[in-house]
């Protein structure tokens, strides 16, 4: 069960979770705002608190390549990155997921340059949406800690064997001190036994990994990978349920807040869920039937949970932290529109883009989104997306 509550920077909590998960290899390259995570891990390894190989590589491409190697020999492997670093490792992200290597990575989400930005939005991860990894978004420090440990158990499950990433908003999560319930090492050890690979590179039983795939086999291989990622959904639920039993903290693919009797709902992903809760409370006081949906699981996409959660809603106001330039606008809204298109009864989806490149989104902006959306009720013409907090609208 849970022990004491301690004040801790969220990056440190992520690193502590990796330590408690007994990672055996960490290969990483420092990049703001991920730096504190790997700095702390290198200290833990140097101090002998974590018995692992720490490989200080020369780039993120190398970081993920080292991870591919260490995971292939059967070591529990971890890395972390942000934005440009994530893009640089992009090529290997696709390779390790198709090779079914259960690497765990924290992505401290940051805007893609240019203009050069070190601040938070979700444009980095959206470039890697289809890389075949399990993708989880954390809302607060506790979730970062819990989800990092859960990610190892999910990824390494023999029914899954797919890499998993935990997204945490850069600075707004990575650099803040939060009070976090720690878990005893004993609890983590019981929850997360050592990794037992199905196949690994070992001279006693040679195998070839990452072989060439002719057109006669490639499509079947890709389909097998897609089915495995979709099927990981039930294991994710199982793992979260077990974590809930052991720690008292329960997680769902889609979290709901004040959805009872809601006709309108906001939908967020990541740390802005907590700000949106404040806006929901304020608007509920004014008698507006507003609720909130928080999307925790981005891949595999929880289609049924979403369809169930929006039942009875007239309007769904989606806040995106990235823009699909020249396209649909918000990637999360676009996904939701697709998920609900085939439903006989579905809410009107109003897409808002806010909080790009570290721009703050206070509760008033969420109220403004809902206010604007309500004005669109019954209107025929709805734009692909709207923006909030961008000057010159």
């Amino acid at each position: 069960m849970t022990d004491k509550r301690v004040g801790m920077e969220v990056s440190i909590a992520a690193a502590e979770a990796v330590k408690m998960a007994r990672a055996e290899c960490v290969a990483a390259y420092p990049i703001t705002p991920q730096t504190h995570i790997v700095e702390h891990l290198s200290e833990l390894v140097a101090n002998g608190e974590l018995e692992a190989e720490f490989v200080p590589v020369e780039s993120e491409h190398s970081a993920m390549s080292v991870c591919a190697g260490t995971s292939a020999v059967g070591a529990r492997t971890y890395t972390s990155t942000s934005a440009q670093g994530l893009s640089l490792m992009s090529e290997i992200l696709y390779i390790v997921s198709a090779m079914r290597l259960p690497i765990v990575m924290s992505v401290a989400n940051r805007a893609m340059s240019a203009p050069l930005s070190i601040w938070n939005d979700h444009s980095d991860i959206m470039t890697c949406r289809d890389c075949g990894w399990i993708q989880i978004f954390a809302e607060n420090g506790q979730e970062v800690f819990d989800q990092t440990i859960c990610a190892f158990k999910i990824a390494e499950d023999p029914r899954v064997l797919t890499p998993a990433m935990v997204n945490l908003d850069g600075f707004t999560l990575s650099h803040v001190v939060e009070s976090i319930y720690e878990v005893s090492q004993e609890t983590v050890d019981q929850f997360l036994p050592p990794y037992k690979p199905v196949y690994r590179l070992h001279p006693d039983q040679p195998v070839t990994m990452g072989a060439f795939g002719m057109p006669e086999i490639f499509a079947e291989a890709r389909k097998a990978q897609d089915i495995a990622l979709r099927d990981s959904y039930s294991v994710i639920l199982e793992v979260w349920e077990e974590w809930g039993k052991r720690t008292g903290r329960h997680y769902n693919p889609v979290e709901t807040y004040r959805m009872d009797g809601a006709k309108i709902a906001l939908l967020t992903m990541g740390s802005f869920g907590e700000v949106a809760m404040e806006a929901v409370d304020r608007m509920r006081k004014k008698g507006i039937p507003l609720g909130l949906l928080k999307l925790r699981l981005w891949r595999p996409f929880p289609f049924e949970d979403i369809r169930k959660s929006v039942q009875g809603l007239e309007m769904l106001v989606v806040m995106d932290r990235a823009i699909s330039t020249g396209g649909i606008g918000g990637p999360v809204a676009s996904e939701l529109k697709s998920a609900l298109y085939g439903q006989a009864k579905r809410p009107k989806i109003i897409s808002f883009i806010a909080g790009l490149g570290g721009r703050d989104v206070p509760p008033e902006h969420f109220e403004e989104m809902v206010g604007q959306a309500m004005k669109l009720k019954g209107k025929r013409k709805i734009e692909e997306f709207y923006t909030i907090g961008i000057r010159g609208e």
Binding site: A98, M99, L161, Y199, T208, E216, E220
Partner: protein
């Protein structure tokens, strides 16, 4: 291999496309890639084996009489053996079909 690759369904794909059988590349005959094949004039061959050393596909073997010849199941017709041969006994000949 249990069955030809084009009969595998997605359910037959081993986890992560791992190849569990060591050395099964020999089942993959790459000889049909070539557009030219090496023909050896044994009267000029001095059995030095330089072609065997240079062949990037290890497709050259020594026959019972000690001559070095290409196994056409694997030879891709790159012509390196003909280029490197000291006596010029190897000629690259266009494949007819």
């Amino acid at each position: 291999m249990t069955k030809p690759i084009d009969q595998f369904t997605w359910k037959d794909i081993p986890l992560g496309c791992v190849v569990t059988e060591a050395g099964n590349a020999h089942e993959y005959k790459t000889g049909d890639w070539k557009s030219q094949r090496p023909v050896v004039d044994t009267s000029k061959c001095i059995k030095c084996g330089v072609c065997w050393i240079f062949c990037p596909d290890a497709a050259i073997y020594k026959n019972e009489e000690g001559y070095f010849l290409a196994n056409l199941d694997y030879c891709k017709g790159c012509g390196i053996c003909a280029r490197e041969c000291w006596t010029g006994c190897i000629t690259m000949v266009e494949e007819e079909k």
